[in-house]
Amino acid sequence: MSARNRELFALIPASLLVTAGFAAVFIQRDDILSNVSLTYGLIFLGLCLAAHLVLRVTLPDADPYLFPLVAVLACFGLVMLYRLNATFARDQAQWFVVGLICFAGTIVALRRDHRVLERYRYSIALIGILLLLLPRLGAPVNGAYLSFHIGPIAFQPAELAKIAIVVFLASYLRDTRQVLVVGARRFLGITFPPLKHLGPLLAVWGTAMVLLFVIQDLGSSLMFFGAFLALVYVATNRISFVVIGLGLFAIGARILYAIRPTIRNRVDDWLHPFNDKLYHQPVGGSFQIAQSIFTQADGGLFGRGFGQATIQLGGNAPILPAAHTDFIFPVIVDELGLVGGAAVLLVYLLIVERGFKTAMLATDSFSKLLATGLTTVLALQVFVIVGGVTKLIPLTGVTLPFISYGGSSIVANFILLALLLLVSDRARREAQAR
């Protein structure tokens, strides 16, 4: 069976899932099975088919499982959002259309050779950094500068910036990986990269620190810096570079912890979420993380079923804040249990596996590093938000890719997927030719 036919078949479970999900929410809500649920399923299937046709024409050899896996997450997110608020789901569905257009646009633009991106790497890097600094113009939300408002649309530039930065790093490291290894000196038993190439690397570290300082967002900088270290490691196969990088990051984070009360608050909330004083602190308190954990505790092994989580109290203030964005994972665990939460994480893991497989299949260094970087940044984003809401690490507001409500997140992640598929198509075709 051809790759595209396999993809087509793999889409069937995704559309069945979305139909079943909507049906469940409808039955729960109205005790009747409305035909709207079927309509939703059909529209979703139509969108997937359209994207599938684009892939069939432009990237016939690309990985057949990446798109269906993303479709499963996307439809799952849609059902969750519908359950929270029908308006969210409608908006999100519209964003899906926009996201898929960007997806198709990226593929069409780069279908001859995605490596043209290398030519624009410094422009792309600049755009990435500017995007990150944009929210500083607005007001902070919960002490962090994460979103930028254009009219009524809240835009989270970090979502797009992560792609720009990965493209830059992949391209930069393709050039310098050899010299980083060859020119390395051993000092005190640790291998240091050559000084003249250390500069750009220090610049990346500096950028991460500045990010942390300026947007005051530990999670985002962890995500960027993590992707950077992963790429350095893959490019040079020197674990010592990673150790040095982590050390520098830790030092920077420690300093920021000392001088930035926002960061300190986050860590305190993480360590003592059930402290009475912290819980009732109106700004920067541990209310969110505590409620996130209480929500999960309600779920148990199998959850309580769609629409059963206690999120709002009759039009009053929500019990669980930001349930549709940052805290959508606790809602999933509440309603579908540990089993549901683990299943979602497993789907991400499968995507990550396909991403790394693509990287390993790719023959040129840029493609390898690009696929690795994009996959890592996606994995780290999941880790940062799920780790945050489960109290594994201090909480930072980033979206759960493809599931959380949010236009910029959907658009950015579909572009990320498009790039992965571009790399995959070329790699698999070349592998078949060999």
């Binding site: 893959v234 999960q296 109290l313 009759g314 039009g315």
Partner: protein, 482 residues
């Protein structure tokens, strides 16, 4: 570069395993502790989101219902006027948690099914709706019982002897359960130590049983075969029991009389001798058979019931009746340090009425799902055989005599033979403060209702059980036998 990519994937696997581990900890491993966290209001909110089932009287009258408030939470309303069912039904409020039958039958009322059914309901997206609880309580008799107590503190319990169905359970003073949700009102009630209105006297009060306890002594006497109704004993007064003199009511003198006569006239000296002759062990055995010493097997919260028995008030400890420290002669006539609940004494009467077999009392008749199907029918259940059928019928005859011509004539009904026993526990002889009692059942040939009536601190010369309690029992029997 493929080797480091593979290692990187390994790292991602480890990170995701940590995520799943943390999620497991939050949602399963440590979930119960998180749900019990004081900052977590969800369990309470959740309970108020369930459409709790109705509680109904035997005839279908709604006693408690839930209505949806403006905040999407359900609130409980108790529909009977003046708190007629306050103690027995209890309450369910977000602020106070639960009490009474509301607590005992919470799983049914809140629609908590088995884990498997719950999962299926969830998959079907079915909203949790509570089942309805139909009780055995009789609204007319319940109301009558309260009006008969006429504001005097006390309690009345009526049971069907053959089935254990609790038809009446009242405790005075009461309260209006609908006002309990108000913090100030609740605070006032809970701190009212003089009247203790929140106390269910039927199951929580420890009263001196007085002469009603002679029924227990008589059961032991007849069932062991050591005595018959015609056994003759000397009824002179006073006699020395455990080194102190014991006298009859008004120090009345009797010659050699039968046990039947001794019960009819409630002769203390005779029954003290009987108990002494039976001994500690036998008395203790029969008390145990009647249910003394343990909480009654009623469908009611354990911490709202207390056992009956010999209680040392200074040490705040139960004393086993077989103990040498117990004056068994005085136990035999309901003195010593006996403390009994009205429910226990109603069970004593019901056991005699049911041919010597004690049935488990139950308030709940059946549990009905919202569609009207009976989920569970509470079947009559034997607790224990206390005495032989012969002993029970002999005792019935003796107790009939009490009502026919003895201290209990106040309970006699026109055309229906009533069996019973009066009691007058003397709380303060100088001030003549008594605790009047009546326990009994009717009709004697085929008993349908057993009843226990008692009132606290009744003053004056007209404060004996036969005068105060027997007529109340008569009214209750009459209503329930209609």
């Amino acid at each position: 570069m493929n080797a480091p990519i593979l290692k990187l994937f390994g790292l991602v696997l480890v990170l995701f395993a940590a995520l799943i581990g943390m999620t497991s900890y939050n949602s399963v491993i440590h979930a119960d502790a998180y749900r019990a966290n004081a900052l977590n209001a969800r369990p309470q909110i959740e309970q108020q989101q369930v459409h709790r089932g109705l509680i109904r009287a035997r005839d279908g009258t709604v006693l408690a219902r839930s209505t949806l408030g403006s905040n999407d939470l359900y609130k409980r309303t108790y529909t009977s006027a003046g708190g007629t069912f306050a103690h027995v039904i209890g309450y369910d409020f977000l602020r106070l948690a639960r009490a009474g039958l509301e607590r005992e039958r919470n799983d049914a009322l809140s629609g908590k099914r088995t884990q498997l059914t719950s999962i299926f309901d969830q998959l079907r997206g079915k909203q949790r709706v509570g089942d309805n609880v139909v009780t055995n309580l009789d609204p007319a008799a319940q109301k009558l019982a309260i009006s008969q107590l006429a504001g005097r503190k006390g309690s009345i319990v009526a049971i069907e002897p053959a089935t254990g169905k609790v038809r009446v359970m009242v405790s005075v003073p009461g309260y209006d359960p609908n006002q309990l949700d108000d913090a100030a009102t609740y605070d006032k009630l809970i701190h009212d130590d003089k009247d203790s209105p929140l106390l269910n006297r039927a199951t929580q009060a420890g009263y001196a049983p007085g002469s009603t306890f002679k029924v227990v002594t008589a059961a032991a006497a007849l069932d062991t075969g050591k005595f018959t109704p015609d056994s003759m004993l000397d009824g002179k007064s006073p006699i020395t029991v455990s080194g102190t003199p014991l006298s009859n009511f008004s120090n009345e003198q009797y010659g050699s009389i039968t046990l039947t006569t001794a019960l009819t006239n409630s002769v203390n000296t005779v029954w003290a001798q009987v108990a002494q002759q039976l001994g500690h062990k036998t008395m203790a055995e029969y008390m145990k058979r009647f249910g003394f010493g343990t909480d009654p097997p009623l469908d009611y919260p354990d911490d709202q019931m207390r056992p009956s028995g010999v209680f040392d008030t200074t040490k705040q400890k139960w004393i086993p009746p077989q103990s040498d420290r117990v004056d068994i002669g005085r136990v035999g006539i309901g003195q010593e340090r006996l403390q009994v609940t009205p429910l226990q004494m109603a069970e004593v009467a019901a056991t005699v009425a049911n041919g010597g077999v004690r049935m488990k009392p139950h308030i709940t008749n059946r549990i009905v799902d919202p569609d009207g199907r009976t989920v569970e029918q509470i079947q009559p259940q034997v607790a224990e055989r206390v005495m032989s059928t012969t002993a029970a019928s002999q005792l019935t005859e003796m107790m009939s005599n009490v009502v026919r011509e003895g201290t209990g004539v106040g309970a006699a009904l026109q055309g229906i033979q009533v069996a019973g026993k009066t009691g007058t526990a003397e709380l303060n002889i100088a001030k003549s403060i008594n605790q009047p009692w009546f326990i009994g059942f009717a009709p004697t040939d085929k008993p349908r209702i057993a009843v226990a009536v008692t009132l606290e601190n009744i003053h004056g010369p007209q404060s004996q059980g036969g005068i105060v309690a027997a007529p109340i029992a008569k009214a209750i029997l009459q209503e329930l036998l209609k």
